[in-house]
């Protein structure tokens, strides 16, 4: 049973009053704040630490129709040891795959500490009956997924059927705990389809109230995917949510973050918005594929003083 509807006995109208009672967001002001955070200049030791932290926060992702066990295994190897010749280079946080690849990934990552994240609930559109979504989730959890990345029903959200969205999240959360499992639930808002920052803020709160362990911007299949202002809003939401409820929720921007420079802007934003408590892979992740290699190139530049090139990092 959904936390919100159970505890507050809120229907759509009640949830609307609650969510629409949140302070509004001025788009231009939010954009300006994000842009300003983006002008922070991170140098030398701070940059080296930031790059390693960013590597540790990566959910290295492959979500292709053409994924094969071979591809997934290669990605897992890369995730465990991103720089084969540099053992001090940290592993990524997780490998993110479709549900049917969980077993393969789990096996490849065994003993590494790198987690397996599975997208579920009829990813990326989320357009399937609830039973199918739950079955999707249960299958991934049973196959050993440590984390489930679900998508919310944007149609229901945009139609104001907030209770349906909340109940679905709560149901998936319950499915994450099938048979004594305890997979972390990341709730993808697909902010690119929510259109407004007010909606992003409301969806963030709705997801958190419904039991999300993480709120995540995007599937990566819709443009725009993650943006700095949207992530800023979500960081504000988790900060305020913890202040009100005592429960800390993580944030995961996903899609479109390709450069180390971008990643550092996100980390600065985490630092100055939610605060240092979130500067940890347990509380902040990057959903990305090509980002990792740029982080590695920048690590090399910092270590050697010369610009590196794509031939010097592995392609997977």
């Amino acid at each position: 049973m959904c936390l919100v509807t159970a505890q507050l006995a809120l229907d759509d109208a009640g949830l609307r009053r609650l969510l629409h009672g949140l302070p509004p967001v001025d788009q231009v002001g939010a954009d300006a704040r994000a842009a300003k955070l983006g002008t922070r200049s991170i140098k030398t030791t701070a940059k080296a630490e930031a790059l390693d932290l960013a590597v540790r926060m990566v959910d290295l992702t492959t979500l292709e129709g053409a994924d094969t066990p071979g591809k997934v295994r290669a990605l897992c190897a890369k995730g465990i040891r991103p720089e084969p010749d540099q053992p001090e280079c940290p592993s990524v946080a997780a490998i993110c795959v479709y549900g049917d690849m969980v077993g393969t990934a789990k096996e490849a990552l065994a003993g590494s500490g790198v987690k397996v994240a599975a997208v579920a609930t009829a990813f990326p559109s989320g357009r399937a009956p609830l039973a199918v979504k739950l079955a999707d989730t249960v299958a991934a959890v049973e196959a050993g997924a440590d984390e489930i990345d679900m998508v919310i029903d944007r149609g229901a959200f945009l139609a104001g059927r907030y209770a349906a969205v909340a109940e679905e999240i709560a149901a998936v959360k319950a499915a994450c705990r099938t048979n004594g499992h305890d997979a972390h639930l990341k709730v993808i808002l697909e902010t690119g389809e929510l259109a407004t920052y007010d909606n992003v803020k409301r969806a963030s709160w709705l997801a958190m109230l419904s039991g999300a362990d993480f709120i995540k911007t995007s599937t990566g299949k819709v443009s725009p995917a993650a943006t700095l202002p949207v992530t800023l809003l979500m960081l504000e939401a988790v900060r305020d949510f913890r202040a009100q409820t005592g429960r800390q929720v993580g944030v995961k921007p996903a899609g479109g973050i390709r450069t180390a420079k971008d990643a550092i802007k996100y980390l600065v934003t985490v630092n100055e918005t939610a605060g240092p408590d979130w500067l940890d892979p347990d509380w902040f992740r990057f959903g990305a594929s090509s980002l990792l290699n740029d982080l590695l190139l920048q690590r090399r530049k910092l270590a050697t003083g010369v610009y590196s090139g794509p031939d010097y990092v592995t392609v997977d």
């Binding site: 001025d26 231009v28 002001g29 954009d31």
Partner: protein, 291 residues
């Protein structure tokens, strides 16, 4: 029984403050005479306290007058023209008497005054279009500048032409939403008080126009230094005079907007925007554009 000729009932010339016609609180009056020296009337001689009261009346009327729609203000000014036109002969008679001009010239001045009220009446709802701006700023902002009244304007009317002079300094100040304290000097008192009667019957809200009759030299320093007056029109002061300079210095204390007197000013010429602009503040309002 002998036949008696009927004596006329004379008008008492009083001040016009806050929509009422009080005597000077000082109880003083002065003799208005024609250029030839003939007695015309005893006019109330306004004191500094009358000036203070007039400023207070103007201040309290200002927000309401500014808030009235431009359409409404235009209609009120037009109504003044209507009332003036109806009293055409009365004003002509008074002008002829106090200025010592012939009736034809006096009528010409009344007509010019009526026309000037009509001209300014039409400006009320065009000022923001002519003086305002929609600014194309480099960013996601809606940004618009519009003329807003500066507040309370003290105007020192010229001695002559009496009615046209008063009209030409009062109308441009009030059309944009300011309220006025006008000093009508010396013999100007006669048409000024009659103009006050026109105001009182023209839907002009009380306090929007306040008329002080008496001595410019006595009243002007109090108005120029008054901290609740926002602007000063020195039309009735000799250009280049010590007095003009002193008043401007006094006005600087609270940074009043000052219209300096200009030599050889032609009251019959097209006034343009020159007397409206100084009493209008450009206010620029910004708002982000977003979803």
């Amino acid at each position: 029984m002998s036949e008696t000729t009927r004596s006329s009932v004379r008008k008492t010339y009083k001040l016009y403050i806050g929509g009422a016609f009080p005597r000077s609180e000082s109880g003083r009056s002065y003799t208005v005479t024609a250029p030839g020296g003939e007695f015309i009337a005893n006019a109330a001689q306004a004191s500094r306290k009358d000036a203070r009261d007039a400023v207070r009346a103007a201040r309290s009327a200002q927000p309401g007058w500014a808030k009235a729609t431009a359409y409404n203000r235009g209609q009120v000014l037009y109504r003044i023209a209507e009332m003036l036109e109806e009293r055409r002969d009365q004003f002509a008679q008074q002008i002829a008497t106090v200025e010592g001009v012939d009736l034809t010239a006096a009528h010409t001045q009344v007509d010019a005054s009526v026309d000037r009220w009509v001209w300014y009446a039409g400006w009320s709802d065009k000022l923001s279009q002519v003086l305002g701006a929609a600014n194309s700023v480099a960013g996601p902002y809606w940004n618009i500048s519009s003329p807003e009244p500066t507040g309370v304007v003290a105007v020192l009317a010229p001695a002559t032409p009496t009615l046209l002079g008063l009209t030409s300094v009062i109308a441009p100040a009030i059309v944009g939403g300011n309220t006025v304290v006008a000093v009508a000097p010396d013999a100007c008192a006669v048409p000024a008080v009659t103009l006050g009667e026109v105001m009182a019957t023209s839907d002009v809200p009380d306090g929007v126009v306040n008329l002080l009759t008496g001595s410019t030299a006595e009243l002007a320093p109090w108005l120029a230094s008054h901290l609740d007056v926002n602007a000063l029109d020195l039309a009735g002061v000799e250009p280049g005079s010590e007095m003009a300079r002193d008043l401007e210095v006094a006005a600087a204390e609270n940074l009043k907007r000052v219209v300096r007197p200009s030599a050889g000013y032609d009251w019959n010429a097209d006034p343009g925007l020159k007397r409206m602009k100084p009493f209008l503040e450009t206010k620029t309002v910004w708002h982000p554009i977003g979803i």
